[in-house]
């Protein structure tokens, strides 16, 4: 496996409540690296043949949360949110800052692929390998500040109950939508914390159409460093970036 990647992606189908791990070959990761590039590749592979008939706010649209090989290595902390955009019907990649990308990497995933449509409001709770679809009726309709406060408290209490001897748990990182996303507004954002948002393309509406209020991630693992033997070296550029940039004509 090439360095810089955790090695697996999480795929959640909300219609069938099916949760599985998918892997991409090294060639695909080398060519498309991650984030917007990989998002375009996944969308082309899965929706390309029926692109024109896919309703962005329907169950067959995909919503992708993807990191890259450099996510987590200071100061790279952004995560890409992508899918068929309800605003333009095109492929739009939008990024949002915050701890979400780092926590996702620490949990052992390079990205999340969300498909399908839930019957009632849910949110996704991830703690390392444990992925859970939890009921979000309590927080459906709340604004940004209340959503963050309630979700943070709920997730920390849950973690404390499950791992009582672990000490104080840090808050999980949360991506969520507000009332605009729930009502499928075509310009709604996917937000992190209070004021950080992935706004291009209106992916909040896609999340709202899948009846999903948010995702909370807590990862306790180390970052997948490129140094080998558990160390970080100065020349440990992720292999995904090494060949590709030169192949595309960049100087690096």
């Amino acid at each position: 496996m090439i360095s810089g990647y955790a090695g697996k992606f999480l795929e959640v189908d909300l219609s069938t409540k099916n949760i599985k791990e998918v892997k991409f070959s090294d060639e695909i990761l080398m060519d498309y690296v991650g984030g917007r590039g990989l998002a375009a590749k996944i969308l082309w592979d899965r929706l390309g043949s029926k692109w024109e008939t896919v309703d962005p706010l329907g169950p067959e649209n995909l919503l992708l949360f993807l990191t890259g090989p450099l996510t987590g290595f200071f100061p790279g902390g952004r995560i890409c949110v992508s899918g068929k955009s309800p605003q333009s019907n095109g492929v739009v990649g939008s990024t949002v800052g915050g701890e979400f990308g780092v926590e996702l990497k620490c949990a052992g995933y390079d990205g999340i692929i969300v498909a399908g449509e839930a019957e009632k409001p849910v949110y996704l709770s991830i703690k390392d390998g444990d992925v859970e679809i939890r009921d979000a009726a309590r927080i459906w309709g709340l604004d940004a500040k209340r959503t963050v406060a309630v979700l943070t408290k709920e997730c920390r209490e849950l973690l404390k109950k499950r791992y009582p001897q672990r000490g104080e748990w840090r808050e999980p990182s949360i991506l969520y939508i507000g009332p605009a996303g729930e009502n499928k507004v075509r310009t709604a954002v996917v937000a992190a914390k209070w004021s950080h948002a992935a706004g291009y393309g209106g992916d909040g509406g896609v999340l709202g159409s899948k009846k999903r209020k948010g995702i909370a991630v807590k990862g306790t693992g180390p970052l997948a460093a490129g140094g080998g033997k558990g160390g970080v070296r100065r020349d440990s550029r992720p292999a995904g970036l090494r060949g590709t940039a030169r192949k595309r004509g960049c100087a690096t």
């Binding site: 001897q165 180390p222 140094g227």
Partner: protein, 177 residues
């Protein structure tokens, strides 16, 4: 320390409201102790219970060391040079008694190994302070350890977050937690 010179006992002074939440202290700490970037295995952790209210949470080296007293296997000891709490990984059984005894609930378990993590002041040269000073945040500073009620600084994340939120957002801060 290679040199035989006697180092003065130090303490890390903290100005929590200045913290921006950049988390370089976590990276520096885990790189020094675990040789890789591992935020959950860092001895200093940045909490963000309310967005925008980030603060580092780490050992305050109370003058009476309640965690060392309750340890059933004597795995915890106080370093004579620095005054920091040292954890013997071989004798620590991960019972969690020190976490209960700590007035600030500062110690936490290592995510993979069965041992507790407490700040050891990096043997007198704290890495977190270096990067904090480098970033010009000045949240952490090294000061000589004096006779002082350091126990007052050992507070739970909820208490600190509430105080800081009220300081930053006024009355609304109490409702944010």
């Amino acid at each position: 320390m290679a040199e035989a010179e006697k180092r003065e006992a130090i303490w890390i002074a903290r100005d929590l409201s200045k913290c921006s939440g950049c988390r370089r202290c976590e990276i520096a700490c885990s790189l020094f102790h675990e040789k890789r970037i591992w935020p959950e295995a860092s001895r200093i952790r940045v909490f963000m219970l309310v967005p925008g209210v980030e603060f580092p949470h780490f050992c305050a080296q109370c003058e009476d060391y309640p965690c060392v007293e309750v340890c059933p296997t004597k795995a915890l000891s106080v370093s004579k040079e620095t005054g920091a709490v040292l954890v013997d990984a071989n004798t620590c059984i991960g019972c969690g008694k020190c976490i209960e005894a700590c007035p600030g609930k500062v110690p936490h378990m290592h995510p993979k190994e069965n041992k507790v993590l407490i700040c050891d002041l990096c043997g007198g040269d704290p890495q977190c302070v270096k990067v904090c000073q480098e970033g010009l945040w000045n949240v952490l500073r090294v000061v000589p350890r004096r006779f002082h009620p350091y126990r007052l600084y050992a507070r739970t994340p909820e208490e600190i977050a509430k105080d800081l939120a009220v300081k930053l957002y006024g009355e609304e801060g109490e409702r944010l937690l």
